[in-house]
Symmetry: C2
Subunit: 256 residues, 2 copies
């Protein structure tokens, strides 16, 4: 029987809202797993909502300290957002893709296409004055958690740092992988055969994104207090590839 | 503990490659569940890869019977595909979005944006002469399976008919929902509060797509012989909305 079990670690009482800058997230997850009665095994996968990673890494900005540039002020008027917030978003962005009232979609410095460069108020400090940025290097964040879990729980696991992104063509956000450690983010099916021995057409599956989406079902709104999901039962290929292999270069993108 | 259990029903020996036009897919799934030791409960979800739905519904085309139009012949030369296949794709399409060598992306008559209008050789009859179309009305297919499972297993479940789609901005296909019965495809978070009592920014989650992606992890290449996945543990809102609510109207699409 092929089966997959996903378990969300308890939220506010475990890892979650209590995360503070400097916290050792790997150790907190190890404690949360024990509290949930989960004994980590080789091959398990941990999906972590980026928000708690950002908090643990101190990627927080206090808006009253931010001096918005003239460009941020102009853009803020256009999109009807706080100019200081827009300034923070611009600092995180490589380019602005869309700016209309209420919506600011950018390509982040790491190459992700998302609203507000992932800069977000929710679940940060309960104040409009504080926002969280995306982790500076989500792959490195995933690697650190992976290494700590290896040290503390003695198991070789894969780690995904996830976010919720809007999409072209489709309504609703879905979980996506912005950081990866220990598993092949794109599953390569080239050369595999179908039931009748014919070669499959589809060559790659966005495996890490599908995992982030699966975990998101349990997280609720990705950071609602259940930011860590344990996954058991998936066969995957070990790899140290970056989650950035999931970013499609413009010249190969025929879906835009 | 919040947890989710996904189980793929056994493939070739159960539902899967053996599906023939006219088969009662709901009954076959009920048998597969029993064979897997799963006793269906209210609230369970069944995700079915569209390919077996298409086969059961006889949505198969024998290419030697297809007379390609002049338009199909021109397009076939452009994309370097069989003109009869292109003719079938055009009959399933509302418009052609991209046509370059090897790639033909369309909007289907049902409004899905995907490669080849979902028309596919793999896992059909093991012959280049046969292709499968998408189900004519995937919501109706899901409703029929749902009703049959209610009759045969005595449980009120939700059913998703899934496909694997390529995406803008991201590499690799992911599972998406093309048909739905019994659950709200888009989960509406408007008015929900974060950990600190602030209203969440993100208002809708592509729940049925996340479920299809989660199931896809077990299906392998969506039709590799494990086309049916049973999901238990998800809280969802019952609804009779169509999966087409996941299609984003162009005027609301700022991600393109």
């Amino acid at each position: 029987l092929y089966s997959l079990e996903l378990t969300a670690l308890p939220g506010p009482s475990g890892p979650g809202s209590l995360i503070e800058p400097g916290d050792d997230l790997g150790a907190i997850i190890a404690v949360g797993l024990r509290a949930s009665g989960i004994r980590l095994r080789d091959g398990d996968i941990i999906v972590v909502a980026h928000k708690v990673v950002s908090k643990a890494e101190g990627r927080l900005v206090y808006l009253p300290d931010v001096e918005p540039s003239a460009r941020a002020q102009r853009l803020a008027r256009k999109v009807d957002k706080d100019a200081r917030l827009v300034e923070v978003i611009l600092r995180e962005s490589r380019s602005v893709r869309r700016a209309v009232p209420g919506v600011l979609i950018v390509t982040t410095k790491l190459g992700f296409v998302c609203a507000n460069a992932g800069v977000d108020h929710s679940n940060v400090k309960g104040s409009d004055d504080w926002v969280a940025l995306l982790p500076a290097d989500p792959d490195a964040s995933a690697r650190t958690i992976r290494r700590r879990l290896g040290e503390l729980a003695g198991a070789e696991v894969a780690v995904i740092v996830s976010d919720s992104h809007g999409r072209a063509w489709r309504e609703g956000t879905v979980g996506v992988a912005i950081g990866c450690a220990g598993l092949e983010p794109l599953s390569d099916l080239r050369g595999k055969l179908d039931l009748y021995g014919r070669e499959l057409r589809v060559t790659t599956v966005g495996l890490a994104d599908e995992l982030a989406s699966a975990a998101s079902l349990l997280m609720g709104q990705a950071d609602e207090g259940r930011p860590v999901v344990h996954v058991r039962g998936l066969e995957y290929v070990a790899s140290e590839l970056s989650a950035r292999v999931l970013q499609r270069p413009r010249e190969r993108d025929l879906f835009r």
